[in-house]
């Protein structure tokens, strides 16, 4: 059996890398990761405290649950309240607080909300319950969107008419552009997402180096991957030559997964999308194509939410833009904990607040 975990956590390999990274002590370096799984790895393996203080690791808008707008959260809750609907969702969305309620609360009150691990399960539920409408709550980036696209193609093929998708899917590259355009935070380099890049390929990020002169390295998720990526970025920044490099060669290619990209193109169209913390980003979301509008929950059901308000004093927005570290939020660890989350970044296991709370709180307390 090929072992692909332990080798990437071998202290004998990690130590010399850390030493080399420490030699970049000439200036401050600010690197941003834009993938929730990277956020968790960096927190869990203590990478932030293992690298020198002048190398700052910022968390960006990499958690799909977290960037879902308050209005979309409220809409999903409204859908769940419809007694004719079975709302199928990934588990992470259950506890995200909407303006007045959450899916978990509605489920406790009797709403039919089912946690799914894949769209295939949602399709099966639709087939087993022809008397109900099954709505899949489509949340995620380019990683998850293809499976949702395939579920729609499959539903069409299997003539499952009571299945639809509430698509709030988002695209990573436009968010990076929006962050750089705003100029709010200094970003010297991006630790680019691994899973997303399996789908979209290296080519999708070339604008970063070409138009903005900002380097990026697509990274794997193990400590060794992330440290190699950090070193690659530091090298680029020091030599003042920005390019997009691939550390995660064992899965990511230049072109990405063409088959998945085709499915995305077939089922979805690129649309403007509202991001929590960032606002409306042009051409950053995936809406369902007219050809498949029978499977579009936002067309099938007239969901209106009168108003949506983000929780007061919650800094999720600033955290998602990298402006604030979770530690700088007034509510962190006080009014907002994983047990009683106020904002989504504390709910999702991939959220920056939850990761910092779980893995880094104590180091911080001791400071």
């Amino acid at each position: 059996m090929v072992r692909l975990i332990d080798e990437f956590r071998d202290p004998e390999l990690l130590r010399p890398l850390l030493q080399r990274i420490s030699s970049y002590d000439d200036r401050n370096y600010s690197l941003m990761e834009v993938c929730g799984t990277h956020t968790v790895s960096i927190s869990r393996f203590g990478i932030r405290s293992a690298v020198p203080e002048n190398i700052k690791l910022l968390s960006g808008p990499g958690c799909p649950v977290c960037v879902t707008s308050q209005q979309d959260v409220d809409k999903a809750i409204e859908l769940a309240k419809n007694s004719n609907i079975i709302l199928a969702t990934f588990g992470d969305m259950m506890k995200v607080p909407g303006t007045k309620s959450s899916l978990a609360k509605e489920k406790a009150k009797g709403a039919n909300v089912v946690v799914c691990y894949s769209t295939r399960e949602a399709l099966d539920i639709a087939e087993e319950h022809p008397e109900k409408e099954v709505v899949f709550y489509g949340v995620g980036f380019e990683t998850t969107a293809p499976t949702v696209a395939f579920s729609i193609l499959e539903a069409k093929k299997r003539k499952i008419k009571n299945y639809s998708v509430f698509s709030t899917h988002k695209l990573v590259p436009p968010a990076l552009r929006a962050l750089l355009d705003s100029g709010e935070v200094r970003i010297d380099g991006f630790i680019l997402p691994g899973h997303v890049s399996v789908i979209i390929g290296l080519k999708a990020y070339e604008f970063l180096s070409e138009e903005y002169g900002v380097p990026g390295v697509v990274s794997g998720f193990e400590p060794l991957d992330i440290l190699i990526t950090i070193e690659m970025l530091l090298k680029q920044i020091r030599s003042k030559k920005a390019k997009i490099e691939n550390q995660y060669k064992r899965t990511v290619t230049y072109d990405g997964n063409i088959y998945a990209q085709k499915a995305l193109e077939e089922v979805f169209k690129i649309d403007d999308a509202e991001w929590r913390g960032i606002g409306l980003i042009p051409k950053s979301g995936l809406a369902i194509n007219e050809e498949f509008e029978d499977f579009d929950a936002s067309k099938k059901f007239d969901v209106k939410v009168p108003y949506s308000i983000e929780p007061p004093n919650c800094s999720c927005g600033e955290v998602l833009r990298g402006v604030k570290s979770p530690f700088e939020c007034k509510l962190f660890g006080k009014g907002c904990t994983p047990e009683h989350p106020v904002g989504p970044c504390m709910v999702s296991s991939e959220g920056a607040c939850a990761a910092y709370y779980r893995f880094e709180r104590y180091t911080r307390v001791v400071d």
């Binding site: 927190s43 990683t143 998850t144 904990t337 047990e339 779980r358």
Partner: protein, 339 residues
């Protein structure tokens, strides 16, 4: 002929119920049992401290790779007794059956109960059977209560961890959690993971035989909430700091793989056949040696130690990078990641 199933009438208290109990239930579990069909069982117990525990089992699905709810219901309660240093004596068995359960499934569960009780050397002495309407239970729920005696000289408690003590884990973690999860969600893992559900009382006795009883400070089985939660409970009860090293915690490759795919942390996954032993430092090596010489403890490892509390009780884990991080209790449920 259609398959026999459990009907509501089986729980009515009438002839059907008597027939079910006498023909289908008791013969399967009576091994060593002493059914008098009175309202309560009479037990002869040694003149020692008595340990009493109860637990209800509602696992979904009731059948999984490596066992079923019956095996779990006996192992779990036997282990709760053993973690108190108690020698199990007797077990009660209460079944809450959803109407429609196949008789063959009930029998398979009962067989497991009997086998596991025999293995643990505990007698099933009393029981109860109820049948509820479809939808009121999920196939079958089981409650077991266990009685045991605590031999003199044993004083095992979550509040007994002392600075300087050594933390030993009896084997790999996360097996049960992944087995259940993959069964429940049809994950179709290429290398299936078996649940580790098993009674641990004989392993505990081996440890007590080999080192002085007063050197054994804490015994705990890291069930729901996993190792991380168990260690936190101990740290709080004993008002100490526990430090473990991530690299030393044994995890099967296939469990690691499943965790990486799903975004789970093995430290938080349930176990049903593992124990944490916190022992006086000078006896740690001997305890480890004895555990490793048994089948159920063959993968045992020293994973950390107990220290004086600084500001408040806590658990720390040393990462592969040599940095230290906080290991918190499980909060809420673990959900697989989206991305």
């Amino acid at each position: 002929m259609s398959e026999d199933i459990i009907l509501l009438a089986h729980g009515s208290g009438g002839t059907l119920m008597h027939r079910l109990i006498e023909n289908n239930i008791v013969p399967l579990i009576k091994e060593g049992g002493n059914f008098e069909f009175d309202d309560a069982a009479e037990l002869l117990v040694p003149n020692q401290r008595i340990a009493l525990t109860t637990d209800s089992y509602v696992v979904k699905p009731p059948f999984f790779n490596g066992g079923n709810i019956g095996k779990l219901a006996v192992s779990g309660t036997v282990n709760d007794l053993a973690m108190k240093g108690a020698v199990p004596i007797a077990l009660s068995l209460a079944l809450i059956i959803e109407e429609g359960l196949k008789l063959s499934e009930l029998e398979a569960i009962l067989k497991s109960i009997a086998e596991t009780a025999k293995e643990a050397g505990i007698r099933i002495v009393t029981g109860d059977t109820k049948v509820v309407e479809k939808g009121s239970a999920d196939k079958i729920f089981i409650n077991t209560s266990g009685v045991g005696y605590i031999p003199d000289g044993r004083n095992v408690s979550g509040s007994n961890a002392r600075p300087g003590d050594v933390v030993i884990l009896s084997g790999t973690i996360g097996d049960h959690g992944i087995a259940i999860m993959s069964e429940r969600e049809g994950l179709g893992l290429t290398i299936p993971v078996e649940s580790d559900a098993t009674p641990l009382n004989h392993l505990v006795e081996r440890i007590f035989e080999s080192i002085p009883a007063d050197a054994i400070h804490v015994l705990r089985d890291p069930t729901r909430g996993g190792l991380a939660t168990t260690l936190n409970e101990i740290a709080q009860q004993s008002n100490v700091v526990i430090r473990i090293e991530e690299e030393r915690v044994p995890v099967k490759d296939e469990v690691k793989g499943a965790c990486e795919i799903l975004g789970y942390d093995p430290l938080y996954l349930a176990n049903e056949g593992k124990l944490v032993l916190i022992v006086k430092e000078e006896f740690a090596d001997e305890a480890l040696k004895v555990m490793k010489s048994t089948e159920k403890g063959k993968d045992a490892a020293i994973i950390g130690n107990v220290e004086e509390v600084e500001s408040k009780p806590a658990v720390f884990v040393k990462t592969v990078l040599g940095t230290s991080r906080f290991l918190t209790m499980l909060s809420g449920e673990q959900f697989p990641r989206i991305c």
